[in-house]
C-alpha cells in the first residue's frame, strides 16, 4: 500500500502535464479544420 504514496502524487503530476499538452495542441490550432486532413492521405501527391 505504501507505493500509493508515490503513485497518487505521480498521477496528479501526469494529469497536470497532460493538461499542459492539451493547451499546447489547442493553441497550435490542431482542433481546427480537421475535416480535410482525413482526405489528404487519399490524394495522389
Amino acid at each position: 500500500m505504501d507505493i500509493l504514496f508515490l503513485l497518487i502524487p505521480l498521477s496528479v503530476a501526469l494529469a497536470l502535464i497532460i493538461i499542459a499538452a492539451l493547451g499546447w495542441a489547442v493553441w497550435r490550432g490542431q482542433f481546427e479544420g480537421i475535416d480535410a486532413e482525413a482526405q489528404r492521405i487519399l490524394e495522389a501527391d
Binding site: 498521477s11 492539451l22 479544420g33 475535416d35 480535410a36
Partner: protein, 744 residues
C-alpha cells in the same frame, strides 16, 4: 466588377501585410460551392498552382481559405478566375481578419472544456475507492491523500474552467441584477469551499464529506453545453457576415471630358459627380444634380414608402435608387454611413430573439431570486439539525435549478437550424422568421430571375419595316445599360458598346424604361420606350414567342421586338414538386405576358399562375391571399418584388437579387438553388417541433427536481448530473437540426 478588386485602394479592405515577408499580403477568401472535405483540397490545389500565391490553407467547415499573395506577381482577379475554373465562387472576406478575437474565444473555451473533462475523469478515479470500500478498508492517511489529490486537480477546474461563470456572476451582481450564472457560481464556490474545509479539517463543523467529483462533473457538462452553443452561434454569425461580403461596390463617375467610368466607391472624393442607376445603392451622401427618381430610405429611416427625389434634394448613402437615373454630387463620403448601415443590419439580425426565448428571459429573473432564497431557506432549516447536510442541500438546490435548459431551448434550436441552412446556401437574415416559416401554406414565386435563369440569350430580333435589326438593338442597348432588370442586362450584353446616349431615363417598375436617346451630338433626339408589349403599343400577333419578349418603341409607335430564350433553372421542377409534396400551394406571379407565364407554369407543374402583374398587382395578390387566411412565403429577386416581399409572412430572395430585395428578405438563397426552398420550409417545421420538445422537457425537469432538492432528497452529485444532462439533452436535441433532412 473584378477590376475593382484589382485596385490597390481596395486591398486594404480585405487583406493585410504579411509579417516577415516584404511586399506580401495575407487575405481570407470565402469560398462558395464547397460541400465536402474533398472540396477543400481541390480549392487548395487550384490556388496553390498560381504564381504569387502561397501558404494556402483551406478550412472545409467554414468554407474559407487563407492565402498569402504578392501584388507584384498576381492580382485578386486571377485567383477568382482560377477558382471559377475549378468550379467554385469566391469573395474576399476582409471581415475574417477581424474575427481573430472570436477564434481566440473559441480556443480558450475549448481548453477550459478539455481541462474540466480531463480533471473530471481523474477526480472520479480518486473518488471511486470512497464509494466502493466498506468502512475501515481505507486507512485515514490514504483517504487524506486521495482527498488532497482530488483537491489539487479540482483547483484548475474551479480557477480556470469556471472563470466565465464567476466573472459573469460578479458582473451581474455588481450591476444589481441576477443572471443564470449567479446560482451556478454560488453552487460551485460553496461546494468547493466546503470540500476544501472538509479535506484539510475532517473533524471540523462541515464533516468529512467532499464534493470534488460533483463539482468537476457539473462544470464539465455545463461547459459542454456552452461549447456546443458557441459553435452553433459562431457558425450562424459567420453566415450572417457572409451576407455582407460583396464585391466592392462600384459607381459611375463623370469623367472631366464627358462620359462616365466605373470606379470603386472607395475612390470617390467629395465633389465628384456620379450617376446612380435604378436598383443601385447611393454610395455617399450628396445632392441630386439631375434626374427624378423614387428613393427607398427604409434601411436608414424606417420609412417604408419610397420618397421622390429630384434636382437639388439630398440623398443619403445606403438608400436605394428605385426608378430613375440620378446624377448627384458627392458631399460626404467615408466609412461612417455605410458602416452604420451594416452594423444596424447585423444587430437587427442577431438581437432578434425569438418570441419564446423572450418569454423565457422574462420569467428567468424572478425564478432565479426564488432559487437563491429557497437554497438559503433550506440550508437554514437543515443547519439546526445537521450542519454537514445543510451545505449539501444548499448546493443541490442551487445547482439543480439552474435554468440553463430553459434558456437554451429556443436559441440552441434556431441557431442549429440556421447553421445547417447556411451550409446548404440559405442565409437566415431574421432568426424569428424561422418561426413564421413553419406555418407557411402558400409559396408564391416570381418568374424572371427566380424560376428562370437571369442571363438570357437573344434569339431573334424583328423590326418595323425600314429599320435595321442591328440599329434597333443599338438603340435598345442605350436604354438597357441603365437598368439592372435581367432583360435589360441581356439586351445590354447583346448590344455591346453603343454610340448613342440616353438621358432623362425613368424606370417604371414592371413596365419598362423610358428615355431620350440622341446620337451625332444630339441632332437626332428621340423618345424611346423599352419594355413590356403593352408599354410599347406592340401590335397583336398570332405567333407567340417561346420565351421572353422585350419591345422597343419611339414616338411613332412600335419599333422592334427582341425575343429571348428563357432557360428554366435546372432544379425548378424538382423544387416545385417537393413543395407540393409537402402539401403547400404553389403560385406564380409575374410581370411578364400571361401567355408565357402560363406556359412556364404548365412546364413546371404550377396550377395557379398570373401574368401581367404590376408591383402593386403582386402586392394586392399577396394581401388578398393573406386575408383569406393563408400564410404566404414570397420568393423573388427584383425591384418589382420589393413591396410583395415586405408584405409576405416570409420573404425569400435569390442570391443574385438586387440589393433592395435582399435587404427586405428574411432569407437569402445563394447560388440560385431553388431546391433549398423546400428544405428551408421543412427545416423550419422541424425547428418548431424541436423547440416545443425542448421547452416541455426543461419545464418538466424543473417542476420535478426543485421540490426534491429542497426537501433534501437529492445529493449534490445527482443535482449536478440532472441539471447538466437536462441542458445537454436540450442541446443534443437541437443539434439534430444541424443535419438537414434527406433531400426530396
Amino acid at each position: 466588377m473584378q477590376t475593382a478588386l484589382d485596385e490597390p485602394a481596395e486591398w486594404e479592405g480585405f487583406s493585410r501585410p504579411l509579417a516577415g515577408r516584404d511586399g506580401w499580403r495575407e487575405c481570407y477568401l470565402a469560398i462558395e460551392g464547397m460541400h465536402c472535405a474533398a472540396c477543400a483540397l481541390t480549392v487548395e490545389h487550384a490556388l496553390a498552382l498560381l504564381p504569387g500565391v502561397d501558404n494556402v490553407r483551406v478550412n472545409g467547415a467554414s468554407a474559407t481559405a487563407l492565402i498569402a499573395w504578392s501584388p507584384r506577381l498576381t492580382r485578386p482577379s486571377a485567383w477568382l478566375a482560377a477558382l471559377a475554373g475549378a468550379g467554385y465562387g469566391a469573395l474576399p472576406a476582409g471581415d475574417l481578419l477581424l474575427a481573430a478575437p472570436r477564434r481566440q474565444a473559441q480556443r480558450v473555451l475549448l481548453w477550459r472544456w478539455l481541462v474540466a473533462g480531463f480533471c473530471m475523469m481523474q477526480v472520479m478515479m480518486y473518488a471511486v475507492p470512497a464509494y466502493v470500500a466498506s468502512p475501515g478498508d481505507i486507512t485515514p492517511d490514504i483517504a487524506g491523500l486521495l482527498g488532497w489529490a482530488s483537491w489539487v486537480l479540482t483547483l484548475p477546474v474551479v480557477l480556470f474552467s469556471c472563470w466565465p461563470f464567476f466573472s459573469t456572476a460578479l458582473r451581474d451582481l455588481r450591476h444589481g441584477r441576477i443572471g443564470m450564472d449567479v446560482p451556478v457560481a454560488l453552487g460551485i464556490a460553496i461546494a468547493f469551499g466546503a470540500s476544501t474545509v472538509a479535506t484539510f479539517d475532517p473533524t471540523g463543523p462541515l464533516g468529512h464529506e467532499v464534493w470534488y467529483d460533483s463539482v468537476t462533473m457539473f462544470v464539465f457538462f455545463l461547459l459542454s453545453g456552452r461549447l456546443l452553443e458557441q459553435r452553433l452561434r459562431d457558425r450562424t454569425a459567420g453566415s450572417l457576415e457572409a451576407l455582407m461580403r460583396r464585391l466592392p461596390q462600384t459607381i459611375e463617375r463623370a469623367l472631366p471630358g464627358g462620359g462616365f467610368e466605373r470606379v470603386p466607391v472607395r475612390r470617390l472624393v467629395a465633389g465628384d459627380l456620379v450617376r446612380v442607376l435604378p436598383g443601385e445603392i447611393f454610395p455617399a451622401d450628396g445632392v441630386v444634380t439631375d434626374g427624378e427618381s423614387q428613393v427607398d430610405e427604409a434601411l436608414l429611416t424606417g420609412e417604408s414608402m419610397p420618397v421622390p427625389r429630384g434636382k437639388g434634394q439630398l440623398v443619403v448613402a445606403g438608400s436605394h435608387n428605385l426608378s430613375g437615373m440620378l446624377a448627384m454630387r458627392v458631399e460626404r463620403i467615408g466609412e461612417q454611413t455605410r458602416y452604420a448601415q451594416i452594423v444596424t443590419l447585423m444587430e437587427q439580425a442577431s438581437m432578434d430573439k425569438p418570441r419564446l426565448a423572450r418569454i423565457a428571459d422574462r420569467i428567468a429573473t424572478p425564478f432565479l431570486f426564488a432559487v437563491v432564497a429557497a437554497a438559503a431557506a433550506a440550508a437554514a432549516w437543515w443547519w439546526s439539525t445537521d450542519p454537514s447536510h445543510a451545505v449539501g442541500v444548499a448546493i443541490a438546490v442551487l445547482i439543480v435549478t439552474c435554468p440553463c435548459a430553459l434558456s437554451l431551448a429556443t436559441p440552441a434550436a434556431t441557431l442549429a437550424a440556421a447553421g445547417a441552412l447556411a451550409r446548404r446556401g440559405v442565409l437566415v437574415r431574421r432568426l424569428q422568421a424561422l418561426e413564421a416559416c413553419a406555418s407557411i401554406d402558400t409559396v408564391v414565386f416570381d418568374k424572371t430571375g427566380t424560376l428562370t435563369l437571369a442571363p438570357m440569350a437573344l434569339l431573334a430580333t424583328r423590326c418595323r419595316p425600314g429599320i435595321e435589326p442591328a440599329r434597333a438593338l443599338a438603340l435598345a442597348g442605350a436604354l438597357a445599360q441603365h437598368s439592372l432588370h435581367p432583360a435589360s442586362r441581356a439586351i445590354a450584353a447583346a448590344a455591346g458598346k453603343v454610340d448613342c446616349i440616353a438621358t432623362g431615363l425613368t424606370e417604371l417598375a414592371g413596365h419598362g424604361l423610358r428615355a431620350t436617346v440622341s446620337q451625332d451630338g444630339g441632332r437626332h433626339a428621340r423618345q424611346l420606350r423599352l419594355g413590356a408589349a403593352s408599354f410599347c403599343d406592340a401590335p397583336a400577333r398570332r405567333h407567340t414567342a417561346l420565351g421572353l419578349e422585350v419591345h422597343l418603341a419611339d414616338e411613332a409607335g412600335w419599333l422592334a421586338v427582341f425575343e429571348f430564350d428563357e432557360a428554366l433553372r435546372p432544379d425548378a421542377q424538382a423544387a416545385i414538386e417537393a413543395l407540393r409534396a409537402q402539401g403547400l400551394s404553389v403560385q406564380l406571379l409575374s410581370g411578364d405576358r400571361s401567355v408565357s407565364v402560363q406556359r412556364l407554369a404548365r412546364r413546371v407543374g404550377i396550377e395557379a399562375a398570373w401574368g401581367d402583374c404590376s408591383p402593386e398587382g403582386k402586392l394586392r395578390h399577396v394581401s388578398r391571399a393573406q386575408r383569406q387566411g393563408r400564410r404566404v412565403a414570397m420568393v423573388g429577386d427584383g425591384v418589382n418584388d420589393g413591396p410583395s416581399l415586405a408584405r409576405a409572412d416570409v420573404s425569400i430572395a435569390m442570391g443574385q437579387a438586387v440589393p433592395l430585395a435582399q435587404a427586405k428578405a428574411d432569407f437569402v438563397v445563394l447560388g440560385g438553388q431553388l431546391g433549398a426552398i423546400p428544405l428551408l420550409l421543412s427545416q423550419a417545421r422541424r425547428t418548431r417541433r424541436v423547440v416545443r420538445e425542448n421547452l416541455l422537457w426543461a419545464a418538466a425537469y424543473n417542476t420535478v427536481c426543485v421540490p426534491l432538492a429542497v426537501i433534501g432528497a437529492m445529493p449534490p452529485w445527482l443535482a449536478g448530473l440532472g441539471m447538466a444532462l437536462s441542458s445537454l439533452l436540450v442541446v443534443a436535441n437541437s443539434a439534430r437540426l444541424a443535419r438537414l433532412p434527406a433531400e426530396h
